[in-house]
Amino acid sequence: MIRVILPAHLKALARVSEEVRLELAAAPTCATVLDALEAQYPVLCGTIRDQVTHQRRPFIRFFACESDLTHEQSDAPLPDAVASGAEPFLIVGAMAGG
């Protein structure tokens, strides 16, 4: 089980108040987590990454275990603590604008 924490605006859009829990068939990577997230909450399609290219939106960041994973390869394995559910995978709207 993977725990995902969404930014406030995407929580509202997905109509969830707490963290999201996902069951993944494949090994957890950034790409497989986002695949599962979008399958469970189709309304999030296009809000985190491009719907066709799957390129991350410019002001979206990924963190886990106090590390910035934003620029990791999308198919790189996530930390064991994320895979085990001990630590959440954080999707963050970058601090920009006003």
């Binding site: 930014p7 406030a8 605006h9 995407l10 509202a12 859009l13 309304v43 399609c45 296009g46 809000t47 985190i48 719907q51 066709v52 939106r57 002001f59 979206i60 709207g93 970058a94 920009a96 604008g97």
Partner: protein
């Protein structure tokens, strides 16, 4: 009893303002979609409870919301706006080729007859259509693939398709306007398009016969006379008698002919409204006085409407989609400002009142007349 509902899009959410036919007391509900930019929201003429809203964010992209109960509840629908084929390039600000990239939906225009059909004007400029209530969107790519497309260039606010007019007497005829490409017309339901910019004169375009390149801010029509179009251009207020085939300037005695919105009285096809703004470099009213100008002669002769509007220290702007009229017997007219005020007149502009004063910057106002 009759009434009016205003759908107000702002930088930080949508608001729904309702009143009875007297239009004196207003109920303000919102914000819906708090924190998101709502570029535009509009109800279907064919089903007053069916509404669509463009919800957008620089962080999270585009969402389209649909309501089927008059705005009480909303549900996200399809947000996949994919250009048809290989998108190609248009001109960037510096004149270099730049790939077409979807940014947001500026304007949603529901069909006059089918609540499930809606047109969407987007940035980078293109026209999309849904026929299934927003689940799927298909580009009407004949517009973007018009031969002039590679020469289109963005205006300061982006290369947006911001105006969509549907001809109520001819279902095959549509008009759109793009900043800064100009105005276009289709006579075959959106399959093919022709520029309709003859007669426009723009600083920086030395060729008086330039097919495209004009920064059209808004066009408007009266439903009883759809061949007569009014245009607020970057500078100049224009009128066409022939569905855009040619234009003549009708700025007349306006104190400045720069502005963004233009609209037409619901019952008087020759009564037109604009909000003059000082200049292209100073987007606020002249001398700090907020004035709507009305022409009862289809342009050229204009009168200032000031009763109830601030006449000192007012430095707001009124954006292109932020003016609308109702169709009650005494035509009501409404506009919102970048300062968050929404002003209403229940007597065709003679007197004004602020319905609400402290919303986020207003991007759009749509008036819906309720039976």
């Amino acid at each position: 009893m009759s009434g009016v509902r205003l759908l107000v899009g702002t930088r930080k959410g949508a608001f729904v303002l309702t009143s009875d036919g007297k239009r004196k007391d207003w109920k303000v509900e919102g914000p819906h979609f708090a924190g998101w930019e709502i570029y535009h929201a509009k109800a279907s003429p064919a089903d007053p409870d069916r509404m669509y809203a463009s919800q957008t964010s620089g962080w999270f992209g585009q969402v389209i919301q649909r309501s089927s109960d008059g705005g009480k509840t909303w549900e996200p629908v399809g947000n996949k706006f994919i250009y048809d084929g290989v998108p190609g390039t248009h001109q960037w600000y510096d004149g270099t080729p730049h790939p077409w990239e979807f940014a947001r939906v500026w304007h949603l225009e529901p069909s006059l007859s089918d609540p499930d059909t809606v047109y969407a004007g987007v940035e980078d400029a293109a026209l999309f259509r849904t026929t299934d209530g927003g689940a799927n969107w298909e580009e009407l790519s004949g517009l973007r693939k018009h031969g002039s497309g590679p020469s289109w260039q963005p205006g300061a606010g982006g290369m947006c398709l911001h105006t969509i007019l549907l001809d109520p007497k001819n279902a095959s005829r549509l008009f759109v306007a793009i900043s800064a490409a100009g105005a276009f017309r289709s006579d075959d339901a959106g399959t093919t398009w022709q520029p309709i910019n003859r007669g426009l004169k723009s600083e920086g375009i030395p060729d008086p016969n330039a097919e495209v390149g004009h920064c059209v801010h808004r066009i408007a029509m009266h439903p009883s006379r759809p061949d007569v179009l009014y245009m607020q251009k970057h500078w100049d207020v224009m009128r066409s008698e022939n569905a855009g085939d040619s234009w003549t300037e009708v700025s007349g005695n306006l104190p400045t002919d720069f502005g963004f919105p233009i609209d037409v009285h619901a019952h008087e096809p020759d009564t037109v409204y604009v909000v003059p703004i000082k200049s292209d470099s100073e987007h606020f009213p002249l001398d700090g006085k907020l004035q709507v100008y009305r022409s009862r002669s289809g342009g050229n002769e204009w009168e200032a409407l000031t009763n109830g509007l601030p006449q000192s220290n007012c430095y707001v702007n009124v954006l292109r989609d932020a003016m609308s009229v109702d169709s009650l017997d005494e035509c009501g007219i409404y506009f919102g400002t970048t300062g968050g005020q929404v002003y209403a007149s229940a007597d065709a502009g003679d007197t004004w009142n602020a319905i609400v004063r402290d919303l986020p910057a207003v991007l759009s106002v749509e008036a819906q007349t309720l039976a």
